[in-house]
C-alpha cells in the first residue's frame, strides 16, 4: 500500500518546513525594517559637508569628520598591534607548541573563553591598565590597545583554523626538501593559510569598528572638534558619536545620528563583503 499511509507524517513535514521558513523570514524582515527606517531617516541629512564637518551644538552644522578620522586611527593602530601578535600566537600554538602539552592546552582553553568575554570587561581592563597604570590617558593608543585585547582571540582562533586547514602533505613535501621549521611555516604554511587568516582579520576589525562599550568605559566619550594628531591625542569614533547624538533630546540630532549609522553600516557591509571575496579567491588559489 503506497497511498495515504504517509498523510500525517507529510503534514508534520510541511509544518516543520513552514516554521523554519517563518523564523528565517522574521529575522530577515526585522533587519530589512531596521535598514529601511535608518536609511529613510539618515540619507536626507547625509551630505558631503556632514562628512567633513566637526561636531557642533547645532544639528544642521554638525558632522562626523572627527569620528571618521578617529575610527581610521583606532582601526589602523588596532590592526598594527593585534594582527602580527594574533598571527604569531596562532603560529606558535599550531606549529610549535608541543601536542598535549599542559601549558599549550591551558592557553588554548583560555583563548576560547576570552573570545566570549563581554566587551565592557575589556573596557574596564583597558581603563585600569592603559589609562591609569600606564598613564596613557584617554588617548587613541589606549583605545587601540583595549580594542586589540578584544579582537586578539578572534584573530588567534581564525588564524589557527586557517593553519590547521593546510594539508599535512604540503608540510611533508617541504620538510622532505630539507626545509627548516621556520622555512616550512613562512614559505608554505602561512602563504597557504593567507586567505583564511585575512578573512578572520577583516571580521575582527569590522567588529572593532562597531564596538562602543569598551571605548566609553575608558572615557572616550568626549566632544572632539579637531583631528587626532598623534598616538596620545584624544579621539572619538563613529559608534560613540552616534551614541552621543542619540542621547540628545533634540530630534535634529536623531536624524544626523541615523546618517552616521548609514556610514557605519555601509562600512561594515563593505568589510564583510571583502572578507567573503578574499576567502573565495584564496580557496580557488589552493585548488589551482
Amino acid at each position: 500500500m503506497i497511498l495515504g499511509s504517509l498523510g500525517r507524517a507529510r503534514v508534520y513535514d510541511r509544518l516543520f518546513a513552514g516554521l523554519c521558513l517563518g523564523a528565517t523570514a522574521l529575522a530577515i524582515g526585522i533587519l530589512a525594517l531596521l535598514l529601511v527606517k535608518i536609511f529613510a531617516d539618515g540619507v536626507p541629512t547625509l551630505t558631503l559637508s556632514f562628512l567633513t564637518s566637526y561636531p557642533s551644538r547645532f544639528p544642521a552644522e554638525a558632522g562626523i569628520r572627527a569620528a571618521i578620522l578617529g575610527t581610521l586611527w583606532l582601526i589602523g593602530l588596532t590592526a598594527a598591534i593585534a594582527v602580527p601578535t594574533g598571527i604569531a600566537a596562532a603560529v606558535w600554538l599550531e606549529e610549535y607548541a608541543p601536542r598535549n602539552n599542559f601549558l599549550a592546552r591551558l592557553i588554548e582553553t583560555n583563548i576560547a573563553n576570552l573570545a566570549g568575554v563581554p566587551s565592557i570587561i575589556y573596557g574596564l581592563l583597558g581603563l585600569g591598565l592603559f589609562v591609569r597604570i600606564l598613564q596613557l590617558e584617554r588617548s587613541v593608543i589606549a583605545g587601540a590597545l583595549t580594542m586589540s585585547l578584544l579582537v586578539l582571540p578572534i584573530i588567534v582562533i581564525s588564524g589557527r583554523e586557517a593553519l590547521r586547514a593546510v594539508p599535512r602533505s604540503q608540510r611533508d613535501a617541504a620538510y622532505a626538501m630539507g626545509a627548516t621549521r621556520s622555512q616550512v611555516v613562512s614559505r608554505i604554511v602561512l602563504p597557504a593559510a593567507y586567505g583564511g587568516t585575512l578573512t578572520g582579520v577583516i571580521l575582527a576589525l569590522s567588529r572593532a569598528i562597531g564596538e562602543t562599550a569598551p571605548l566609553i568605559t575608558i572615557g572616550a566619550l568626549t566632544f572632539i572638534a579637531f583631528d587626532p594628531d598623534g598616538l596620545l591625542s584624544p579621539f572619538t569614533v563613529l559608534p560613540i558619536q552616534i551614541f552621543n547624538w542619540i542621547s540628545r533630546p533634540q530630534s535634529g540630532f536623531h536624524d544626523i545620528a541615523a546618517s552616521a549609522i548609514v556610514v557605519l553600516i555601509v562600512t561594515l557591509l563593505f568589510m564583510n563583503a571583502l572578507a567573503v571575496v578574499v576567502r573565495d579567491r584564496a580557496q580557488r588559489r589552493l585548488r589551482g
Binding site: P98, R99, P167, S169, Q170, R171, D172, A173, A174, Y175, A176, M177, G178, A179, T180, Q183, R187, I188, P191, A192, R285, L286, R287, G288
Partner: protein, 284 residues
C-alpha cells in the same frame, strides 16, 4: 625514449603494456651500500611497526620494498630521511648508516640529511605555486644564488617534463594532470641534487600511461641516483627494481623482513614460502 621526445606520448596501448627495457646491470656483484640498516625496530606509541630489520640498500640501484598493506613499508622508507621525527609518538631502536654516517646520532641534522635525500609521495603534492616556483623551492631555501632559470630547465628536462610545460612555467603546478604533477614532484626533489630518491608508491594514483612514463623515468634516474621505492604493484617492482625486499606483518601487525634479494631471484626462485605465496598472488 630520450627526455626530449615527449610527443606523441604513447603510440598505442601495446607499447604501454610492454615493460620498459631493463637496464643490464650486474646486480649479482653487490655494489657499495648507500644505506646499512641494522637491527631497526620502530614504534608508534605502544604499537610496534617494524621488528629487527637488517639490510643494505645498494648505491645507484633501484631497491623495491613490497608487501601487503600495513606491513611497515612506508615506515621503513620514512626512517631513511627521518620524516618519522615529525610524528611525536614515534620511537626507533637499531642503527641506519648513510654512506657510513649514523643518521640518528646527536651530530646528525635531519635537515641536512633531507637535503641529500629527496622524497616523492603517494599522492602528488605540488605546492600551490607556479611550476617554476615548485622546482625553485629547494634551491631557494638552500640559498642558491646562480641562474635559477637554467637550473629549473635542466631539472624539468631530467624529469621528462620540460617539453610539456616549457610554455607555461608560470602556471600553477596544480593545473597539471596527475602524472605531470607527480613528475613535477620528482623534479622538485631533484632540483637540490640529492644522492637518493625515496618514493612512496609514486604511481598508485596514476593511470597506466602516466605510470609507464614514471617507471621509464625511474629507470633512467637510477644511473645517477640511489632509488628506494615502496610499491603495492609487484609487476612494477619486477619491471624497475634491481633488488626487492619483501616485508610482512604477522598476527600482531609488526612488520618483519621476510626475504631480500636480487629482484629476478625474488620473482623466479624465492627461498621463503610466504614470498612465493605473495608474488603469485595467493594473498595480499
Amino acid at each position: 625514449m630520450s627526455p626530449g621526445t615527449a610527443t606523441p606520448l604513447v603510440q598505442n596501448l601495446d607499447m604501454v603494456l610492454e615493460p620498459p627495457v631493463r637496464r643490464d646491470v650486474p646486480t649479482e656483484t653487490a655494489p657499495d651500500p648507500a644505506f646499512r640498516i641494522s637491527g631497526l625496530s620502530t614504534w608508534y606509541g605502544k604499537a610496534q611497526a617494524l621488528r629487527d630489520l637488517t639490510l643494505d640498500l645498494p648505491k645507484n640501484r633501484v631497491t623495491a620494498i613490497i608487501g601487503p598493506s600495513g606491513c611497515g613499508k612506508s615506515t621503513l622508507l620514512r626512517c631513511l630521511n627521518r620524516m618519522n621525527d615529525l610524528v611525536p609518538s614515534f620511537r626507533a631502536t637499531g642503527e641506519i648508516f648513510y654512506h657510513g654516517d649514523d643518521i640518528n646520532s646527536d651530530k646528525a641534522d635531519p635537515v641536512m640529511l633531507r637535503r641529500q635525500i629527496g622524497m616523492v609521495f603517494q599522492k602528488a603534492n605540488p605546492f600551490p605555486k607556479s611550476i617554476f616556483e615548485n622546482v625553485a623551492f629547494g634551491p631557494r631555501i638552500n640559498g642558491y644564488r646562480k641562474d635559477l632559470g637554467a637550473l629549473v630547465e635542466h631539472t624539468l628536462r631530467r624529469a621528462y617534463l620540460w617539453d610539456e610545460v616549457k610554455d607555461k612555467l608560470h602556471a600553477s603546478g596544480l593545473a597539471l594532470s596527475g602524472g605531470q604533477q607527480q613528475r613535477l614532484c620528482i623534479a622538485r626533489a631533484l632540483a637540490v641534487s640529492p644522492d637518493v630518491l625515496l618514493m612512496d608508491e609514486p604511481c598508485s594514483a596514476l593511470d597506466p600511461i602516466a605510470t609507464y612514463r614514471i617507471e621509464e623515468l625511474i629507470r633512467d634516474l637510477a644511473k645517477d641516483y640511489t632509488i628506494v621505492i615502496v610499491t603495492h604493484n609487484m609487476q612494477q617492482a619486477s619491471r624497475i627494481s634491481d633488488r626487492t625486499a619483501f616485508l610482512l606483518s604477522g598476527e600482531e601487525r609488526v612488520g618483519e623482513l621476510v626475504e631480500y634479494d636480487v629482484t629476478d631471484t625474488i620473482f623466479t626462485t624465492p627461498r621463503d614460502k610466504r614470498t612465493e605465496a605473495y608474488i603469485t598472488g595467493r594473498f595480499g
